[in-house]
């Protein structure tokens, strides 16, 4: 066990980092906000933590904390800017925000180390810290998904207009979601650059957007648990797929596409459906189902409709 743990330490660390990154997209998505700003925040957090550690030798808590604060503030400002957008338009605006930060880092000169990035961000951050932070975050988010607050967020996602008429401040929920997403993304980025002691513009590209998105789509977008499932799968999949050798990317693509087409609720949704079915299987079902009483009154519903002057049988689908 111990030997296995040390030989897979990088993967274990990546799992928790990926989980936090996936959460930074899952949290907005849960509120119906299609935002990839979390990927941009990942860059902000990664660079802030690396710069502060290299230049000022700050403790990891402060270096990462500073990144989280900056990204949360950036998230709030971004939320004000993109308030008018929604759906795909919002998604693309936030993708371009994230990718723009990558180019900014390439052109940052000495501050960001240009295209080669920054090296030697050595700190005292350990895997234990990362796990602790992740567990606290997951507990907080799990609490936020329950009760009145969780239902309020559900309402904002499913029907914003209805939510407004119920007295829910949709704009505030959306802004809050951007701030939380920024903080989560920055925490992931900051911890990653301190664990790896380096950061470069390549770490934040379109592939990071794709990775984070696939994790929550395959895992399930409506709960933190979906992000956890996705993070575990996509961090460990490459090492499992070594058996198929050169074709692992093809398998990866097929999995992502198949999940998007056939399992829109993600694996979590699939598991919940299965569980629900298992629990309801033994309940007595009225003979003939819900249609039974209707059948007594009208043997042929189509004829009945026609008699009432309803649409003719051939006109209906």
């Amino acid at each position: 066990m111990n030997a296995w743990y040390f030989s897979h330490l990088v993967l274990v660390q990546s799992t928790f980092i990926s989980f936090l990154l996936a959460l930074s997209i899952q949290v907005p998505l849960r509120a119906g906000v299609f935002s990839f700003a979390g990927v941009g925040s990942y860059a902000i957090g990664a660079y802030t933590a690396a710069i502060l550690t290299i230049r000022a030798q700050l403790a990891p808590v402060l270096a990462i904390g500073a990144g989280v604060l900056v990204a949360a503030a950036a998230g709030y400002l971004l939320a004000l800017l993109v308030a008018r957008l929604s759906g795909l338009y919002l998604g693309m605006a936030t993708i371009s925000f994230a990718l723009f930060l990558g180019v900014l880092a390439t052109n940052g000169g000495d501050l960001t180390g240009g295209a080669t990035g920054l090296y030697g961000a050595i700190s005292t951050l350990t895997t234990g810290h990362v796990v602790a932070v992740t567990v606290v975050v997951a507990l907080l988010l799990a609490a936020g998904e329950r009760g009145a607050y969780g239902r309020r967020v559900d309402a904002v996602r499913e029907d914003p207009h209805l939510a407004v008429s119920l007295g829910i401040d949709v704009t505030r929920v959306r802004r809050r979601v951007f701030v939380v997403s920024g903080a989560l993304g920055a925490a992931a980025g900051g911890m990653n650059s301190l664990l790896r002691t380096t950061v470069s513009p390549e770490t934040v590209g379109f592939h990071l957007v794709v990775t984070a998105l696939t994790m929550i789509i395959v895992g399930g977008a409506l709960s933190w648990a979906g992000a956890a499932i996705g993070a575990v799968i996509f961090t460990w999949l490459p090492s499992v797929l070594q058996v198929v050798g050169d074709w692992q990317l093809v398998v990866y693509g097929v999995i992502v596409a198949a999940a998007a087409v056939w399992v829109p609720g993600g694996l979590l949704g699939l598991a919940q459906d299965g569980w629900h079915r298992l629990r309801t299987r033994h309940r007595p079902i009225p003979a003939g189902g819900a249609a039974a009483p209707v059948a007594v009154v009208a043997p042929d519903p189509a004829q009945e409709l026609a008699a009432l002057g309803g649409p003719a049988a051939e006109a209906r689908p």
Binding site: G32, V82, R84, Y89, A93, S96, V103, A260, V261
Partner: protein, 296 residues
């Protein structure tokens, strides 16, 4: 200066060929196809594989590109996007699923091409077509550039005319405004969607082959870079507007060329992102886009 303008025009017409199909599919049948870049690359790649066996002239290569692009695009539509649209409960969820599905599918041809080429750029050196340049005094123009310019603006004009004047074009635009009412009026949505996707894929394949001739060789990853640029061009001009895509592609290529010749070039990749972001903030419907019809 005149040379820079010509280069910007060529780049713009390559963007245009690529973005035209994407814009058409997005503005009418509501499909934002993120596998478009992959289809573009794979069509060019298939033409490369073929030309290794048989030395083909330019028209045959273009035909291969168009055919492969159209077939791939149809496959994606039938295997992925149709099932998604059929089963999705609401419009917004379907949009996101289509986006993710497209991203997933895009990985497959990319991985195949990367495996077969070992990520080495490929070209058409075996083709019987030879690139020649004409010196007109103030500019030098190659025959590939002329073909690209004519194909891009010609096809944009044809598609623009078809959407305005032909009955299927009208039906297609009707789907873009209100899909349900359109099908109640007897529009065959499935057939038109397949047609649109085939045209979009064909245009992508054409652009892929022309780009490979123009640059000499392309890498399997070229499609991804084009995807975001085409997206920027569409957002700039306005979704669904053909004149808008033409304008967007030209403006984007113009700005990029300007940045490339005046600076060291490291900022050039950011142009597309900056354009997308600013346009969405200032004018989400694009320069020539129509007001989005609200469906509730």
């Amino acid at each position: 200066m005149a040379q820079d303008v010509l280069n910007a025009l060529t780049l713009g017409s390559l963007y245009l060929l690529f973005a035209l199909g994407m814009s058409l599919a997005w503005g009418t049948i509501g499909i934002l196809n993120f596998a478009h870049g992959s289809i573009f690359m794979f069509a060019a790649f298939t033409a490369h594989l073929l030309v290794q066996e048989v030395p083909l002239p330019l028209p045959a290569m273009l035909a291969v590109g168009v055919l492969v692009g159209a077939v791939l695009s149809l496959l994606v539509q039938v295997l992925a996007f149709e099932p998604i649209q059929r089963r999705a409960t609401d419009h917004r969820k379907a949009e996101m699923q289509i986006l993710v599905g497209g991203i997933g599918i895009a990985i497959i041809p990319l991985a195949v091409a990367q495996y077969l080429t070992r990520s080495v750029p490929f070209g058409y050196s075996a083709s019987t077509f030879r690139i020649s340049t004409y010196d007109w005094g103030f500019v030098r123009v190659s025959n590939v550039q002329i073909v690209t310019l004519v194909a891009a603006f010609g096809l944009a004009a044809v598609i623009g005319w078809w959407l305005r004047a032909a009955r299927p074009g009208l039906a297609l635009r009707a789907i873009g405004v209100d899909a349900e009412v359109a099908s109640m009026m007897g529009v065959d949505r499935r057939r038109l969607a397949l047609l649109t996707m085939a045209v979009a894929g064909g245009l992508a394949g054409l652009a892929g082959v022309l780009l490979t001739y123009y640059l000499g060789s392309i890498a399997p990853e070229t499609g991804d870079a084009f995807l975001l640029k085409a997206f920027a061009a569409i957002i700039l001009g306005g979704v669904g507007s053909i004149a808008g895509v033409v304008l967007g592609a030209l403006v984007l290529a113009g700005i990029e060329t300007l940045v490339l010749v005046t600076t060291s070039g490291t900022w050039a990749p950011a142009i597309a992102f900056g354009v997308i972001f600013l346009m969405l903030l200032v004018r989400p419907n694009g320069l020539l886009g129509r007001q989005e019809v609200r469906r509730t």
